[in-house]
Subunit: 251 residues, 2 copies
């Protein structure tokens, strides 16, 4: 470690960000390219990296996401620490990290290399990315077609899929944060179907949607369809929050 | 670090266990005594410690809980990583940890000392402890009367209280794992009141309990009360699990 560096990395703890979205009707995860020393692409990985010595975990997650993708206003949620000794067994991965972070990691360890990573999760719109082309190495990859990734990134994404479903159940607001301001009943159902990877009965889903009193019908209808003009709905966040508080009180 | 030691500690990552229970009608947390070099008590802390270099996080949590309390069959759940640089600012805490773990921690750091801790959570019966007196330094302390603890243990307990309520909402099974095999409606309500720190309307709660189809009335009544003999109920775990699967399918 060089004393004159502004930020010293902590070679023992990293964060990884699992950003999910629906792209081409598939639940997808945002991956970034990994380069070798010559700058050639050698595969994909989660946006992630070592924390700075003087940086809180949440701050590190937002910094790293922003550096890798240009994204700023994503609501990240810490979801799990992954710390198996196995995750750094592949020396290639660690050598790559040394190169990418421009820091000797090996020498921080007298014994086995061990990096615990704290994983963060978000569901966001796929168009959330910086306007410029600086982040061309970003790719949305369907979760059923993941490449082999370094460290335990495949495992992290698999666990994140369970977590996002659980989160969508508990806090439906995150599903609406993904949707446009106006959406049809069929678009909402389709979103749930994709997140939960399961066809849902139309009538059952309509009942479920009616029970969501914070989903408000608007005066607008969707034009341009051949035989019908389905109504647009909107998500009333104020009402949602009020109901959530009331529900918690009545419990 | 001595090479001949069977287990090397990782001086950068620890786990802490927040065990909660209801003791004397109060939501309480299990704390253990901290000793100075002469073996004198210098206060209380969460059961916790550094992970071994070759140990997964979950394994470390179960080992540390068992070492500190003799408990074995508690269902621990990882709930959050705490990694603020502030948590190891008090040098006294770090010196104590060096002494307690019999390991030089300072020398592992060229710069600021930084230990990220992974916190685990469980709700359990207060009588869960080893039969012998080896664990006399264990204390159940009400969460509204916590002492000042080392590192960020006060913050961890505060966050754990929110987490346990959220968990009890999502998975009522953990509430029943706390209760005896047979319980009255009033005992169940009282348990919820204590966990959520809120008086609950008797009639509303009865409705809520009726909706819990996995809470089954038994033939037994509670004897020894002056004017009434309330019925005992039991928790049907098989039914609960079936309903949970069904609920998830219908979503």
């Amino acid at each position: 470690m060089k004393k004159e560096e502004t930020h010293l990395f902590n070679p023992h703890v990293s964060v990884d960000c699992v950003l999910m979205s629906i792209v081409d009707h598939k639940l997808s995860v945002l991956l970034v390219e990994r380069w070798d020393k010559r700058g050639e692409t050698i595969g994909l990985k989660l946006p992630g990296g070592l924390i700075y010595q003087e940086e809180d975990l949440d701050d590190a997650a937002y910094r790293i996401l922003n550096e890798a993708t240009g994204m700023k206003r994503v609501q990240l949620k810490q979801f799990r620490a992954f710390g198996s000794p196995e995750r750094t067994r592949n020396k290639e991965d660690v050598l790559w990290l040394e190169n990418a972070s421009n820091q000797k990691i090996m020498q921080a360890y007298q014994e086995t290399i061990r990096i615990v990573t704290i994983a963060y999760l978000a569901l966001c719109k796929p168009d959330r990315k910086a306007a410029d082309t600086e982040y061309e190495s970003m790719h949305w990859v369907p979760i059923d077609n993941l490449p082999r990734m370094p460290f335990d990134h495949n495992r992290i994404v698999n666990e994140a899929v369970f977590e996002i479903r659980d989160w969508a159940d508990r806090e439906p607001a995150i599903v609406f944060s993904y949707l446009p301001k106006k959406f049809t009943a069929s678009e909402l159902r389709s979103t749930y179907e994709i997140i939960f990877n399961r066809k849902m009965d139309v009538r059952n889903f309509d009942k479920r949607m009616k029970a969501m009193s914070y989903v408000i019908p608007t005066e607008d209808v969707k034009e341009g369809l051949a035989h019908r003009s389905p109504r647009y709905y909107r998500f009333d966040k104020t009402l949602y929050n009020k109901l959530k508080i009331k529900l918690n009180k009545n419990k």
